[in-house]
Symmetry: C2
Subunit: 263 residues, 2 copies
């Protein structure tokens, strides 16, 4: 990422590659709370003048990356989903994992999550939610911190050494209570996650404590490709029992992906 | 789409909006059989000279729309999945439908599909596959013909009149045996699908006949938002029994989406 030139927003004329950056700035203007945007909102959120926004958005609509609704507002288009599902780290893993995620969802009646590491964050690539499961905030395509979620801790514990050191080099804070996590404490947690091949993480929300139980998924070269997790309110959780179920399903997925069995 | 200018590929200099089209041509170079491409393959499949391909691909990598593997080859990136999951016609519908799709998958032990219409084609936005289900070719994000699949017939039957007339105005052929479908026959089929709120479609593959059973999903304004279907080998199918299960699940999804119940 350090090779990327400083983005020059605003009045820059539309020629050369910066126009590509601008096109993607339009896409980046959408998020979970802003799925449908007027031209004015799109212009403001992308920091691109209205006339250029209109011209670029028209190109994106003609390709199908954006769509317009009946009142002319913009939203992300299905054509983008068509291309995005080709991401090997997303849907390849997902397709293998999904039947096992169902089994786990049926047995636990709770949220089952599949996540991968993207740089210094976890990205949720699938979530199955039973009718009975309590509502949670995370959504597919959404990002989670590595150091204060169950799935994140597993991804961090099995990440290359330099990723762990990069994260440990800066102060990290627990969420949502925002307390400093001492590097030594985090190191010990990561060592334990590696040894047990399991993370059990408690998160105090406003109304109740949510327990996340997560286990790594390995690929053919025995590197961690992702993580499988279950989210459950503390009142119904027996984390150790859940741990065995999550580990079992994670191993089944790993075996399908060609990982060698290990003790 | 008619407003889109003829694309000028090849030697055109890189300035103005055409560069946006070129960037998306790079994304369109990937498909289910080409998930990972070298620079030379990317250049050839997108019909963009190598030097421009490298420059554009570098921009796409820095944004995260593309990623590079250990040997420098390109693939679709997770960042694109992050944006694409915001598509209201994709994941909004999908999130509502998924628990009911699980129920149907558990009961039938077969492939359960969720599709929407995108122009003159159906697009598969979710598929659940039981461990027991026979392998099928369709993938999430993939496109299916409207006139020769179960989910397609439902989407066509409940599409606006002008979409139906546009399709009926040209000769259409059955797949995979490539026989002309007479417009009158197709019109009668569509009328029956509308009346029954169900399509049962048999498709002869090389080794066996696959039956698709599909029912419409309606939204708050009682327009068809999508279609729910089950794919099952003929040897295990009792299409009428399956039909009741598919219709039940489709109604449950419609109710969650705010559709008014109708007889």
């Amino acid at each position: 990422m350090s090779a990327e030139p400083v983005r020059q927003r605003g009045r820059r004329p539309l020629h050369g590659e910066p126009v590509v950056d601008r096109a993607f700035s339009l896409l980046a203007a959408f998020d979970a709370d802003h799925r449908v945007l007027t031209l004015a909102e799109l212009s403001r959120r992308s920091e691109i003048p209205t006339s250029s926004t209109l011209r670029l958005a028209t190109r994106l609509v003609s390709w199908g990356a954006l769509e317009r609704d009946d009142s002319g507002r913009y939203c992300v288009g299905l054509r983008l989903l068509e291309v995005a599902t080709l991401a090997p780290r997303g849907h390849g893993l997902r397709q293998t994992a999904l039947p096992f995620m169902h089994d786990l969802s049926e047995v636990t009646k709770q949220h089952v999550q599949l996540a991968v590491r993207d740089g210094m964050q976890a990205m949720l690539i699938e979530r199955l939610s039973s009718h009975h499961a309590a509502p949670v905030e995370y959504r597919i395509g959404g990002r989670l911190p590595l150091h204060s979620t169950g799935v994140g801790l597993v991804l961090l514990a099995f990440a290359p050494q330099e990723i762990q050191e990069e994260l440990l080099a800066k102060p990290v804070y627990s969420e949502p209570d925002n307390k400093l996590i001492k590097p030594d404490v985090l190191r010990r947690t990561l060592a334990e996650v590696r040894r047990e091949r399991l993370a059990i993480f408690r998160r105090e929300d406003e109304t109740e404590t949510i327990v996340s139980v997560a286990a790594p998924v390995f690929g053919a070269d025995n590197t961690a490709l992702g993580v499988l997790g279950v989210l459950v309110p503390k009142r119904v959780a027996q984390p150790r029992h859940l741990g065995l179920a999550v580990q079992t399903a994670a191993r089944s997925i790993s075996r399908e992906l060609g990982a060698r069995s290990s003790s």
